[in-house]
């Protein structure tokens, strides 16, 4: 049905009422329109308010430390020296690693559910993976401390270092005390998997059937159809799903705080404790001493906010592009 407001009668002879429904001229209609518009406007206003408040509170730190706030590695509340480089590094590396681990699984799940799975298996698997997104972050942290860390220390690490002989690499150097970059990245990977796979699945399902049928009619196998006809069509949307997962990973707080070890140091080893922007704020904010310290933490929050904003806008734009193509 046409969606243009106030369009003429359609084929069925019924004027479309989908849009412009609250365009009436009576007093009640005007009030109703005003009230719902105010509520709708609350969303952009809230977002702008959050951005402004955080940026204003962060300004003293930015103007005092300038660019060195992003490049310096010394975070010392006692000497009032603040540089966020270790936290920025930790955030980027843990998120990138999580993405590296989660993406193959997320795409596998999405392809299996959208293309291969028999109907009776589709719902249970989809629901189980979706529920992963409903598990609170602090529960992931608790499980990570008492189940995941011991498992990584006793089973995965010996396998990586001794069986595969990776301990010579700088990435796997040093003692494994459990609370480190690797543990945080693995828990992050589990946490972002449902987001990426949900978006990828939706995008795959949005690919028109004709696209599949054309490839199958040419004699392609099911997998060749997916590889050559479905995935190219959905590519930007799948990218959107991956980047959406990245956005989640960058801002994830509790589980990472509980597993990453929280140390302001840059180390190439995945077995070294690290720090992220979100976990720094979580640990220090409530006990922050003095205005400079608070402003520095706000500045870290501002960097985190701007990064996730950019990442999210890119992701949404990519996903939106696919859905627009499908509709057109």
């Amino acid at each position: 049905m046409s969606e243009s407001a106030g369009a003429a009668a359609t084929d069925t002879g019924i004027a479309p009422l989908v849009s412009g429904d609250i365009e009436g001229k009576s007093l009640g209609d005007r009030i109703y329109r005003g009230v719902t518009t105010v509520f709708a406007a609350a969303v952009p206003i809230l977002l702008v308010l959050i951005a402004l408040e955080v940026l204003i509170a962060a300004w003293p730190a930015f103007s005092r430390f300038g660019l060195s706030f992003l490049t310096s590695s010394s975070w010392d509340p006692v000497r009032q020296q603040f540089g966020a480089a270790p936290m920025i590094y930790g955030t980027l590396v843990s998120s990138a690693l999580a993405l590296l681990i989660a993406t193959p699984f997320a795409l596998g799940v999405a392809i299996f559910l959208a293309e291969f799975a028999p109907p009776w298996l589709r719902q249970p698997i989809a629901f189980t993976v979706d529920l992963l997104a409903a598990v609170p972050s602090v529960v992931y942290g608790l499980w990570g401390i008492f189940v995941l860390i011991p498992f990584l220390r006793t089973t995965v690490s010996p396998f990586l270092r001794d069986t595969l002989g990776l301990s010579a690499l700088p990435f796997f150097a040093g003692a494994d005390y459990g609370y480190n970059m690797l543990s945080a990245s693995v828990i992050l990977a589990i946490m972002i998997l449902p987001y990426t796979s949900a978006v990828a699945r939706e995008v795959l399902l949005a690919v028109p059937r004709s696209q599949r049928e054309a490839a199958l009619a040419l004699g392609a196998t099911k997998w060749e159809t997916i590889r050559d006809a479905v995935i190219p069509y959905a590519r930007s949307g799948i990218m959107g799903g991956i980047i959406l997962g990245l956005g989640r990973a960058l801002g994830e707080t509790m589980a990472v705080t509980m597993l990453i070890g929280n140390r302001h140091e840059i180390s190439t080893s995945l077995y070294a404790p690290a720090y992220t922007m979100a976990s720094l704020i979580a640990n220090e904010f409530a006990e922050a001493t003095g205005d400079v310290h608070i402003s520095a933490l706000m500045a870290v929050g501002a960097v985190l906010m701007l990064t996730t904003l950019i990442v999210n806008v890119i992701a949404r734009w990519l996903v939106w592009r696919v859905s627009r193509e499908v509709r057109a």
Partner: protein
């Protein structure tokens, strides 16, 4: 597509590749379901024994003492949810109504996009915003600040589900009301919103389940409290906060309570999620009326 008119590889090999890919994607799906099963198994294993009446009625024990519960945290979480719902539900449902009724307008497009962006904003950033607005000026942590932070996070969730649910209402219903002489606003509220109400309530419950487990925005707003407190102007305990404090503590008794708290939290979240799924499917899945 020229590939298929002149296949370079043998048919058998292409079929084998096909089978291998089916197997690989199934493997990925299988592995992806494991974390949830293991999390649930451990929660049940370690949490069940500590859940009893005391858990819901007693205060946390001092370190080293057995017994006690998380009664104040359960109560505090209910208070925080109440405050959040008072803020998040009206604004979320109102903006959802607008999005569904004026879906093509420029404001609707902007709001829809920004609601998604707001949804992707790290919860800790919402927390420092609430601190800046409601803790800093007053000079003390408060339940109100925590509730507002959670409420802000609810708005985009409720807004988008409300829009989706209203869109499922058949156009014919709307047209029938208008044809009977209902004004537009009454049609929208008394017919459309009313029809979509069960779906909207479900969406609201899912949003509440989502924010009930949020910890990060409460760390420096609600702060936590060792004692019973229900006053909005004072720091208040919350279940996720208490789980966090107990989980990183060195005491076995506190660990036990943390597992029990996590089991309660996830029980509530899952019951709501499963019920919501069943409700929306039975309502809108078949037939569509």
């Amino acid at each position: 597509m020229t590939r298929y008119t002149a296949p370079r590889r043998s048919l058998t090999r292409r079929h084998v590749t096909n089978k291998v890919m089916v197997g690989l994607t199934f493997g990925a799906a299988f592995v992806a379901t494991l974390p949830l099963l293991f999390i649930l198994a451990y929660l049940l294993l370690k949490g069940t024994t500590s859940i009893n009446l005391d858990f819901f009625t007693r205060l946390p024990p001092p370190p080293g003492e057995t017994g006690g519960g998380m009664g104040n945290a359960v109560g505090g979480t209910l208070v925080l949810i109440g405050v959040a719902a008072l803020i998040g539900l009206p604004i979320g449902i109102g903006s959802g109504l607008y999005l569904a009724e004026k879906r093509e307008s420029r404001l609707a497009t902007v709001v829809r996009f920004l609601a998604d962006v707001l949804n992707g904003l790290p919860s800790i950033v919402v927390g420092i915003f609430a601190w800046q607005v409601l803790v800093r000026p007053f000079g003390h942590f408060s339940a109100l600040a925590g509730g507002v932070a959670l409420g802000a996070m609810m708005i985009p969730l409720v807004s988008r589900t409300t829009e989706e649910m209203i869109r499922l209402v058949p156009v014919a219903l709307r047209e029938a009301a208008l044809a009977l002489g209902y004004s537009r606003w009454r049609t929208s509220l008394a017919i459309v919103l009313r029809t979509a109400l069960p779906g909207i309530v479900t969406g609201a419950l899912v949003a509440i389940a989502r924010i009930a487990g949020e910890t990060a925005p409460l760390l420096f707003t609600a702060l936590g409290n060792q004692f019973w407190s229900f006053r909005l102007s004072e720091p208040i305990a919350a279940l996720p906060l208490q789980i966090y404090v107990f989980a990183i503590s060195p005491y076995d008794d506190w660990h036990r309570l943390a597992w029990a708290g996590a089991l309660v939290l996830i029980g509530v979240v899952f019951v709501i999620s499963v019920a919501a799924r069943a409700a929306t499917r039975s309502r809108f899945g078949v037939g569509g009326d």
